[in-house]
Amino acid sequence: MAKRARPFVAEEVLLEKLRQRDQQAFQWLYDQYSAALFGVILKVVREEEQARDVLQDSFVKIWRNLDSYDADKGRLFTWLLNVARNTAIDALRSSQANNKPSAAKTIHPDADTVHIVDRQQSTPPINPAHIGLKDVVEKLRPERRQLIDLVYFGGYTHEEAADELGLPLGTVKTRIRAALQELKQLFT
């Protein structure tokens, strides 16, 4: 097993306290990550009402499944993100299935709407990171970002993404690889 770079030693202490169901530890966890998780959830479900429910569900799941999180297998933040993202995707799919079962196409917006929605959601730039959403939006090629968003926030498989975008499966695969490499460059 490769040695993993663990950014915070405090994370281990936090986990230990979380597993003892310590209230302060949870508060710290919430303060630290709720904005990131809420942002991702919003990105998936697009409605604040539903996003509130999904964030609640996500933290309940995180709380219940803390013991199944293994720090050796991945970073805490990634695990939290995945719980929130998958809960949001599940919620979106079940609400779509309930409300408009036949209108699948309208649920998956094309590139332009994704773009617009992203801009709207990013208007309050909460995260004062060294690089802002605007920079990424401008630097990352639109067709690459669109693909990452479909797969990461939309929960699309390669096949579904290829269908949605009218692209050959091979192109989807190479484009995803290229997109992540480009992103990686942007953040380093």
Binding site: R4, R19, Q20, R21, D22, Q23, F26, Y30, S34, A35, A36, F38, G39, V40, L42, E48, R52, Q56, F59, V60, K61, W63, R64, N65, L66, D67, S68, Y69, D70, K73, G74, T78, W79, L81, N82, V83, N86, D90, Q121, S122, P124, I126, N127, I131, V136, I148, V151, Y152, G155, Y156, H158, K173, T174, I176, A179, L180, Q181, L183, K184, F187
Partner: protein
């Protein structure tokens, strides 16, 4: 395998985006444990996606924190996560590329491995049983085969003797068959036999009463003797004798004879009798 090709295939990117199939996910998890390069690439991509997700951060409504905390139980003994019974929780954690995935699905793997191992053990024991059964059967077959061969040999021997006796008996029944008593001289004291001869069919058979045993390289040989006008005997080979005691039909034909005589010859018989070794004689 070529690590670089594997990394560049894009599967790790797909993995980090959470779009891999269960099988691909297991493959990546397995390979990343073996190859540090793969783990490093996963780490870099994971951090990239963390950064990317962070870009979308939106502060949740302030009242939500209290609402959520009201749903959680604090300060209790850790509750074990319920596998399977909590469908949502599991499905939420399952597609995670790292972290939850393995921890959640591990007990299922363990159960499968235990089940597979048990099946393997049962099969192994059963195979051993079958192999030992097979070996036992093979041993029995070999033993039966050798028994059968032995019986076959005995049966063949008996048939030959039976045939021989039948022919001798047939000779005895023929009209005109003469019985000549051939008695041992001083070289075979107490020895004697009956020679059955039919002049018409020229057949000869012998029933030995008793003859002294011979070394393995010697045999008794029967001769038909015709005494010529000059008083000199003209011998004709009537075949060698075996000492089994049964009535035996001789293979040589005798057309004319005044007497029958027995000499000791080398094994397999001689073309002419060694008269110095004459041990028995009887007149027709």
């Amino acid at each position: 395998m070529n690590i670089q090709d594997y990394i560049e295939s894009g599967i790790l990117d797909t993995y980090v985006l959470g779009a891999t199939s269960d099988q691909e996910r297991r493959e990546v998890a397995c390979l990343s444990a073996i190859y540090p390069e793969i783990q490093q690439e996963i780490d870099r991509l994971t951090e990239t996606m963390e950064e990317y997700a962070l870009l979308y951060s939106v502060e949740p409504p302030t009242d939500l924190k209290a609402q959520i905390m009201a749903q959680l139980a604090f300060g209790e003994a850790p509750v074990k996560p319920l596998f399977g019974s909590n469908g949502n929780g599991v499905s939420a954690a399952a597609p995670a590329p790292a972290g939850g995935t393995f921890a959640v699905s591990r007990p299922v793997f363990t159960m499968s491995w235990v089940a597979a191992a048990s099946v393997a053990v049962v099969m192994l024991v059963f195979s051993y049983f079958l192999v030992s059964q097979l070996q036992q059967t093979q041993r029995a077959t070999v033993s039966l085969q050798s028994g059968k061969d032995k019986l076959q040999t005995e049966l063949t021997d008996l048939r030959v003797r039976q045939q021989n006796q039948d022919q001798a008996l047939a000779l005895l029944k023929l009209p005109g068959t003469k019985i000549i008593s051939v008695q041992g001289n001083e070289k075979a004291p107490g020895g004697g036999m009956q020679v059955y001869w039919n002049e018409k069919t020229q057949q000869v058979a012998v029933a030995i009463n008793k003859m002294p045993p011979l070394p393995a390289d010697q045999q008794y040989q029967l001769w038909g003797l015709v005494i010529g006008a000059d008083g000199k005997p003209q011998p004709t080979d009537a075949g060698v004798l075996d000492l089994t005691g049964d009535v035996q039909k001789q293979t040589r034909a005798i057309a004319r004879a005044n007497a029958f005589a027995v000499t000791i010859e080398k094994k397999g018989g001689s073309p002419t009798p060694t008269l110095s070794n004459l041990v028995a004689i009887g007149n027709v």
